[in-house]
Symmetry: C2
Subunit: 244 residues, 2 copies
DNA sequence: AAGTGGTCTAGACCACCAT
DNA sequence: TGGTGGTCTAGACCACTTA
């Protein structure tokens, strides 16, 4: 009997099954998965094969292993934010946790270009949230977040403002939406009046613009974010070739 | 007998030994390494352990495996350039190979800030090379490359201009210098007169500035490159969370 | 057909954590 | 002490390339 033409290796099937369970919320954020021995039994594979599947999810930072304790769904704490989702650092290279201040929280409709990137229909309801991020007390980044209301049904300004965790942490713990990846597109722009005022720069000053699409399992988009960064004293740090 | 406090796993030692051999040029660019069975024998480890070491080097794109053929030192061809070291894409997302045009080739001395990043002494001899990169026939990027002369002893304008491969390919094949990683720092700047002319934009137009340090084995810096990008029709694409 | 990397398994032992 | 992940090994078999 000929082999399947596009037969995926067993460990990929196991990985896909794990991702399906994760996407279904079988193991909530921070929860321990069953032990590797039990998972291997459940999928009827050897422990080596199971480990290879988990290895890949650990490399993608979806899962976290802790020797002696178990394997966990990675949580969105300050460390993960700083190391993997916030690349603006001081010009001297020092990393610093941004301090967000809510500027506006509105409801609206998705523009066509937003709808395309969010995989929703133009005109669908969205939240528009605006934040100023301070670094060392100085406003450096102006963020505009666009969220499909369908994914965050009961979100309110109060909930957003009173969260005691990171923004992606809120998505994860309250809405079961786990951001696992993001794609960023960077361009240079000139500051308009509103932005100049918010960031304390001159109109026409050069700004770094970051257009981010945040994705959950299966590369489903869940958030759009535009960041305007004053790079007078900060820069965007990218590391190529480590596995990116 | 107590275990070593900071004992590295065997496969890490094997990996370090492989990197040492690579850095020493034991297997030149594009050459096949000995088979996994032979390498396992050489390091006196099981094939599984040897494979784990090679796995990591493959993930870092230092080595390339080809089933049925062997394991090779990764070469710097157009594909590797496009996928891992050149992140400027058209605004519609299409990737395109840049076409470089040499603008200037000079010898000079390292400025203090350059010396720091290149791990050489201020005043050491360097090459300064300026390129304009065209995309779809239009000038989009102005590159300034700084190279320590000590690492590229016989480099001349003619050699640089007449190469029939990528720039990193030239470093690799002619000088045995294999760029395996790069760190990029991005900021927004306004175009000065010279840059505006080279890129065909107005003085004061916003440009994306990329400061890259290219590294070889053991994170030794080998090249500094400053790119000024006209992001009117292009953008810098970064993928977070895939392993970056 | 011979040689290479790719997958899968089974089991032993170690290091770490909770109790 | 028992359970967890981490390492290392040995071997079988498969898929692919080259000649």
């Amino acid at each position: 009997m000929p082999a399947d033409l596009a037969a995926a290796p067993l460990y990929r099937e196991v990985k896909a099954a794990l991702v399906a369970s994760l996407a279904a919320g079988e193991w909530p954020a921070g929860e321990a998965l069953p032990s590797e021995a039990k998972l291997a039994e459940r999928f009827r594979v050897s422990i080596g094969t199971l480990r290879k599947a988990v290895d890949e999810l650990v490399a993608e930072r979806v899962l976290v292993r802790q020797q002696g304790r178990g394997t966990f769904v990675a949580t969105h704490g300050p460390k993960r934010l700083l190391f993997h989702f916030f690349h603006v650092v001081r010009a001297d290279g020092e990393k610093e946790l941004p301090e967000p201040a809510l500027v506006a929280f509105d409801r609206g409709r998705a523009e066509p270009h937003e709808a395309g990137r969010l995989a929703i229909a133009p005109g669908d309801r969205v939240f528009r949230i605006r934040n100023v991020l301070k670094l060392a007390g100085e406003p450096v980044v102006l963020d505009t977040i666009v969220l499909p209301q369908a994914l965050f049904p009961d979100l309110t300004e109060k909930i957003f403002r009173d969260r005691d965790e990171t923004i992606y942490g809120l998505y994860q713990t309250r809405y079961g939406i786990n951001v696992v990846r993001a794609v960023e597109r960077l361009t240079a722009r000139l500051a308009d009046r509103g932005t100049a005022k918010a960031l304390g720069v001159a109109v026409g000053a050069p700004l770094l613009r970051i257009d981010r699409t945040a994705l959950t399992y299966h590369d489903r988009p869940v958030e759009l974010r535009t960041s305007l960064v004053n790079t007078a004293g900060h820069e965007y740090l990218a590391d190529l070739g480590k596995g990116a």
